[in-house]
Amino acid sequence: MTQPFRIPAGGRIDRDRPVRFTFDGAAFQGFAGDTLASALLANDVHLVGRSFKYHRPRGILSAGSEEPNALVTVDRGAGRVTPNLRATQIELYEGLTARSQNRFPSLRFDLGALAEVAAPLLSAGFYYKSFMWPRSFWKRVYEPAIRRSAGLGRAPVEADPDRYLHQYVHCDVLIVGGGAAGLAAALGASATGARVILCDEQAELGGSLLSEPDVTIDGWPAPDWVREVLVTLGGSVTLLPRTTAFGWYPGNMIGLVERVTDHLAEPAAKLPRERLWQVRAGRVVLAAGAIERPLVFPGNDRPGVMLAGAARTYLHRYGVKVGRRAVIATADDSAYRVAADLYAAGVAIAGVVDQRAAPDSEAIEAVRALGIPIHAGMTIGSTEGRSRVHSVKLANGTDIIPCDTVLMSGGWTPSVHLFSQSRGQLVFDAASGTYLPSEGAIGACAGVFDLATCLRDGTAAGGSEPRSFAVAGVPVMASAGPPVAAAPNRRAFVDFQNDVTAKDLATATTEGFVSIEHVKRYTTTGMATDQGKTSNLNALTDVAALTRQGVEAVGLTTFRPPYTPVTFGAFAGPFRGKLFAPVRLPPIVAAGAVLEDVGSWKRARCFPRDGETIDAAVARECLAVRNDVGMLDASTLGKIEVAGPDAASFLSRIYTGDFASLAPGRCRYAVLLGEDGFIRDDGIVARLAVDRFHVTTTTGGAAFVLHHMEDYLQTEFTGLRVWLTSVTEQWAVIAVQGPRAPEVLAPFIPDIDLGAMPHMSVREGHIDNSAIRLFRVSFTGEAGFEVNLPSVQAQRMWDTLRERDVTPYGTDAMHILRAEKGYLIVGQETDGTVTPDDVGLGWTIGGPDFVGKRSLSLPDLKRTDRKQLVGLLPANPAVVLEEGAQVTASSTSSLGLARRSPQTPGFAAIPGASSEDDAGGNARSHEEKEVVGRAFAIGHVTSSYRSPTLGRGFALALVAGGRAQIGSKLLVPMPGGSIEVTVTEPLFHDKTGERLRVRPVPRPAAEPLLPAEVQSAPVARPSGSVRLAALAPTTRLSVRAGSSAATAIGLAIGVLLPTVPCRSVISRDRAALWLGPDEWLIVAPETASDLAVQARKAVGDHPASIVDVSHGSQTLEITGHRAAWCVNAFCALDLDVRAFPVGMCTRTLLGKAEVVLWRIAAEVFHLHVPRSFVPYVWACLEEARLEFTDAEVV
């Protein structure tokens, strides 16, 4: 007969739905509603694992998440192997495949059990004491062997094919725990109209009430009362079974992990396996219940020894008898109920061993009346049996009681882990010997075990008037007193999961560990995934007795999240694969390009032709630029529009250089420093008009530079009337460089005379009716232009030029071309410790004061022996130096790694340290003498390439006192020998700048670009209850202005600019969105393209910044009943319509992308997404709405 220990009737399992499963390859049957633990027990399987350290046979201790022993691996196929799951939490499903862990070759015959013979070597803190000799064996022999034999299941190595989601949720009341108190709290809270979430780690809400068929509440049997309450709550409370509150983080943010599909035999692919809820709660009600404490006696870990309450749960909830003949060992009256119920179910109760001298209560009387012997004032001396207990010997040493089950209860410990994580204050309760939360907890979690009181307290904690319920069927019981310390014994286990015994605790205190935090770490009690759920208070009690102090004096260790293990998948959520980080694509799809990562961008590295190597392609591209004409997609450059009457003055304080003298239409190269005087970024500052500048930044520095400018503008230079607008995504940039650049471009830009543009100038004109900004600048040393055009037009321009035989070149060629001219790249030639003068840019410095200027006159920054930018030419022209290689002055075999002394050039002296200190006759000066005569690094190679133009290798380097060494020979030591190099000035091509000279350009007839290809909008997956769409282009203006100008602008463009934060105004076909106290986004139909002109006219003398950003972003629309829910999968804002009403708008984060989120209607959101982030945001929203689509994932 299968399931010999299943009782004929009762329990909450579905006996009409048998479920087959395997454990260690053996086939079993259980019922729907079983856990793996209950099904194994029904089949008389008690041996389920081997212990962590000693490989002792272990059985099922509990019926819940506190289980320390029954950890198993569940195998759902490749990549779906989950180790260390608690058998007590695994819901049975058809075909479940589970395996025991930490045993070889089998669970029953485990070679690792030899560890027990070695137990004296493995005592507390053994890794500090044993295995010390020979010393070299620790790393190679002992540690690997110990690690192999210790521990738990094996982590899978295949990629996890399942999906995981995150969800941000806000609520007024979060109730943790769905037992009696939690349900009552939910009733109380939902009556107030609050937003309530109730979560519970178990599959079924109801907690201990599910195991109380004989108790009635308001006349209902307790399990039926639970059912009725859930129906009542269903409409108004978010009920989350299978959801563990695992961590309490700052700002009342609680982490919940919902196991969505682990209980399903064949989950739908569109469902996530797990969902991580990040709940921002107004208030948290802790109804997490209590955990029964084991008793600490020798052999208390033998299979068949179980917590008493667990046996009652298995009986009433799962219809399983845990044995035939049980001994009850207790310090608490609750175990007597267990005895009575098991007796009624046909389990022989061989005796109750009560460590209390004279226990007496209604529950005890009931047991005595059954004729069950009660041994008062007695404890268990030991247990016997191998893989299952077969008898116990009482501590009096004479009585031996045969049994197959020992049920123990040391009383109940309130589950205060979450409260402890919240940094709440725990209060010691002397009567129960436990710690209780000082606030916010109800029910057993607060040390209240009377059901009627739990229910009444619960309704009050929910926020309603306290409500009483009529409770019947619970006998009057006395709670256990404080735990009693156990005698030190190396088979009396305190912490089952970490194999810590009472002896280990005694050893630790004997060795001088007094603080409980030290004892915890030395013995490992209460550590790791278990976090001391069953062991903490017993350990505390033992340590208190051993150190002769009160438990409250010992104090409690800090509980750490997570409460129970959380999968990496849940933490990673959707942020892996293509959503790991946004991949930003430039507006030009460069056919044939080899791409590389530059920050978050993908840029074209080079464009190999058929059969061409990368090196050959790069060389060809370089020569094309030098001899003909090439083009580079430079769209990723950061671009900032700086506008306002004080713009020049502001820029003069941010960049090196004085921009008051820069005429409109001219550009200047500029360097941006930190206040410490070191280079942070560089770029071109172009003056479009007296009060308007277009500033470029490096690709990687765009966000930083804008932040840096806003910092000084908002907090230091507050009097200036200047506004900043990012136009990085508005403008695409095509750099057209080379002798033929002017003639190639001229036909497409009829309204600008290219031959009249001096080097470093800017003009505004048109290509095909689109406004452009044309820069005559060069990062290659050749005559050239950077065409800034609306990003939507960039592809046409690129394709047209390509048809005119302009050679596309990538970042590799760009690097070589600029290095030949000695143009630096921030982050390559600079590393955050480099001043302008170090890299020969002292000429950029001007003006009265700018950020970082003062630091340039600090003594250390003026040293002449600082590392300076020079060129290096290897003596052998075929050699290309390694970037990062060190440069030395003379021959060495030590790779230039000699110690530095304060006299060494390049050594950063401590400011304020006097030279007398350096020359002092201390121990160091002896070392310095040793250095003399040996080579040391005086610099390093920053850039190195083979130049197709020069036909040889060349490099840029930072070398101490380098400018004074031009012409001399240095060495670059490499493993194969030192390479001789000659120091040169950092300029290798066109030293006079002749090639940059402007020549007249014929003005040919205007020619059109290629016709535009129809851009296909992304197409959403088949619609379900949430729809996603990309909207048609619109006109967008970024308006930054003071209040009077804002009013004038509003009147001129026909929509008033809202003054209330995060609100919008809609007027006919246009809208104004508040984005900041002086910032608005204007959205209008695409046809209103002259809106910026109208607005600029309207402001008159009021300073303001009005920038057309139409092409910088795209609008996505998400619609439907669950639209807010889907946005909340990636956005942390509270999107309840009361908190985020219709018309509300704000910048925020969606995943890792910044967007403007705007609620158009209750179920409609618009997201203004920067152009390059559209694919990422789109993919995020698709991921979120997948479970609401009709179609299955393929």
Binding site: Y249, N252, E710, R854, E1079, L1133, R1147, E1154
Partner: protein
């Protein structure tokens, strides 16, 4: 995750903000008039209190404004937030 009260937008999740260091450190109006030691102190010396600390935050992914917070470094609770130019609450 902290919930940070932006003086303009109200309480927002920490992920929208960027930390800006100690508040009320004023850049010398004329740096050239400051000696090296004082300039070094302005660059590098900051308080590290146990308890209340006035610090700058920017609502970077929101309204973009810098403002000041008083945060208790022991409890990690934000006691107050206020606009630039306003005095810290006593």
């Amino acid at each position: 995750m902290l919930l940070i009260p932006c003086p303009w937008c109200g309480p927002r999740p920490e992920s929208e903000f960027r930390y800006g260091g100690q508040a009320h450190v004023v850049r010398p109006p004329d740096p050239s008039a400051v000696d090296d030691a004082a300039w070094g102190a302005y660059l590098y010396l900051r308080d590290n209190p146990k308890g209340r600390h006035a610090e700058r935050w920017r609502h970077l992914h929101g309204c973009g404004r810098f403002f000041n917070c008083v945060r208790d470094t022991v409890s990690d609770r934000i006691v107050a937030s206020y606009k630039p130019g306003e005095a810290p609450p006593s």
